[in-house]
Amino acid sequence: MPVADLRTTVAGLTFRNPLWLASGIWGESGNSLKGAWEAGAGGVVTKSIGSDPRMGYPNPTIETYEKWGMLNAMGLPNPGIDEYPQEIAIARAAGAAVIGSIFGADADEFAHLASKMAATGVLALELNLSCPHAKGLGSEIGQDPDQVREVVSAVKRAVQIPVIAKITPNHYDVASLAQAAESAGADAISAINTVRALAIDVQLRRPVLANGLGGLSGPAIKPVGLACVWQIYDRVNIPIIGVGGIESADDVIEYVLAGARAVELGTAVAFRGIGIFSGLAKELSQRLDSLKVHRLEELVGAAHSPVTPE
């Protein structure tokens, strides 16, 4: 019987385990959020929701690379904030720890969405400042520390619940973005969103995704996400949620050692199935037991000051 304590506290909220469902995966409908929660996720982040219904890009919206990478350009499809409360209600009725993700074009829109999302009763907000393939949204705002500061400030003024800023990896100095968010009052940072990427079909001589550019996720970006969390941990004091390529207990621990207090799983749900949440929670406890670690939280950031054997 594994005994290690997987509970984790982020921005004053305690989660039963550190394995959250990442935004954009199973998060468009309330039943799926509920399903991920019942499958064992420690928290569930909604699909990023905007002001109006958005169809997203036409298909093809995804491409896969064996089991080590996935490329997507969904185009932020979402039913819009006014339709969405009914979905959150379903997830909340099941007891799920729901984090509401939102995206917008400027600070005002973010603030407006934040109020509406907070009103649905979500525990916290995640601001998508990092979608790599939506014009005028996502990382076009999130790459500029000043705009990050503005958006986060506006949202903080609008809501009482904790605010998580989700950071793009497509930047020379990701920690500067996290610092901007922190200085504006963000309660936590999540990193990373997908890495800008492209696939071309050689026979058809055209990009595979309807949108052309997309975002890379899955194991291929784990080392990239780790580097971002590592750099952010060195420069901010608020908690970090690690995202990118996580699918094993060791992946989770790597992120925690780099500085994360919780992690999000995206592509692993596609490659390994929703059973990954319960499987990974068990595997994680066992691994911690074998490493003689009683509480996952003991390891947060520990790789920054390694103990060298005599």
Partner: protein, 257 residues
């Protein structure tokens, strides 16, 4: 993991329906679907109407892309990924197949496989009008009997295919009903079969994007049609309020069927 392959053959099945055959070697079973990319256009989920080589899909003109597909010549390059989803359980010995419109596309290969496995099949096929009846010959070649209905009475029973299935269920014992068609039709098939205690399996359609159980586009109650389906036992569907009433559009918004 997409394979670019040539449409090797094109068969016009009805005025609004065409079958495209292509070489695509990953093994597939009846009930499964592929994502077919029409370059420069969209990528659509399509049930395999032929699960062996060359594989095939049978496309009914609904919107822009499927209409374009209708006029696509042999030799065109398309992208295929899959097969995705589950298969029909081939174990029932006496099967009633109820196909509405292009729904027969997925039922035909399943019925053929069942008959090869020693099962007996009776089929009820419906369409708006006689020329739109799909795969009648193909079903006749393997079925004990095939009955047809048309909304306009141009062939067979004048009315709905559900009338046929209700009568057949009353006349003969079946171990299972397989159905694919409009949800309102499938709901009727289900209630008739339920009276007799015959289990029903429905092949479902929803908006699809990833086809890998990730993007949530195909959410149907607690299920994802792409990975938990497309074939569902009727009792699961009947427990979902939206079945037969609403679906989600590309944005994830609930819209009437």
């Amino acid at each position: 993991m997409r394979v670019i392959t040539e449409v090797s053959e094109r068969v016009v099945e009805t005025p609004s329906t065409v079958t495209l055959r292509f070489r695509y070697t990953p093994p597939a079973g009846p009930g499964q679907f592929v994502m077919i990319w029409i370059p420069g256009d969209d990528e659509l989920p399509m049930s395999l109407s032929y699960t062996g080589e060359p594989k095939g899909v049978t496309i009914k003109a609904m919107g822009t892309t499927s209409r374009n597909a209708l006029s696509m010549p042999a030799g065109t390059l398309v992208g295929i990924r899959g097969p995705y989803g589950n298969r029909f359980d081939l174990s029932p010995r006496r099967i009633l197949v109820v196909g509405g419109g292009s729904g027969t596309a997925v039922l035909a290969p399943a019925a053929e496989a069942a008959v090869r496995g020693g099962s007996r099949v009776v089929a009820a096929l419906g369409a708006t009008t006689a020329p739109e009846l799909l795969f009648v010959g193909r079903m006749k070649a393997i079925s004990e009997s095939v009955e047809v209905s048309t909304d306009d009475g141009s062939l067979g029973h004048h009315g709905f295919v559900t009338d046929l299935s209700q009568r057949l269920l009353a006349q003969q014992p079946f171990d299972a009903v397989w159905t694919c068609g409009p949800e309102i039709m499938m709901r009727k098939v289900i209630s008739a079969a339920k009276e007799r205690g015959v289990p029903v399996f429905c092949s479902m359609e929803r908006q699809m994007k990833c086809a890998m159980g990730m993007c949530d586009a195909c959410a149907l109650g607690p299920y994802h049609v792409c990975t938990d389906g497309p074939v569902f036992p009727a009792d699961r569907l009947m427990a979902i309020p939206e079945f037969g009433h609403t679906k989600r559009d590309s944005s994830g918004r609930r819209v009437p069927l």
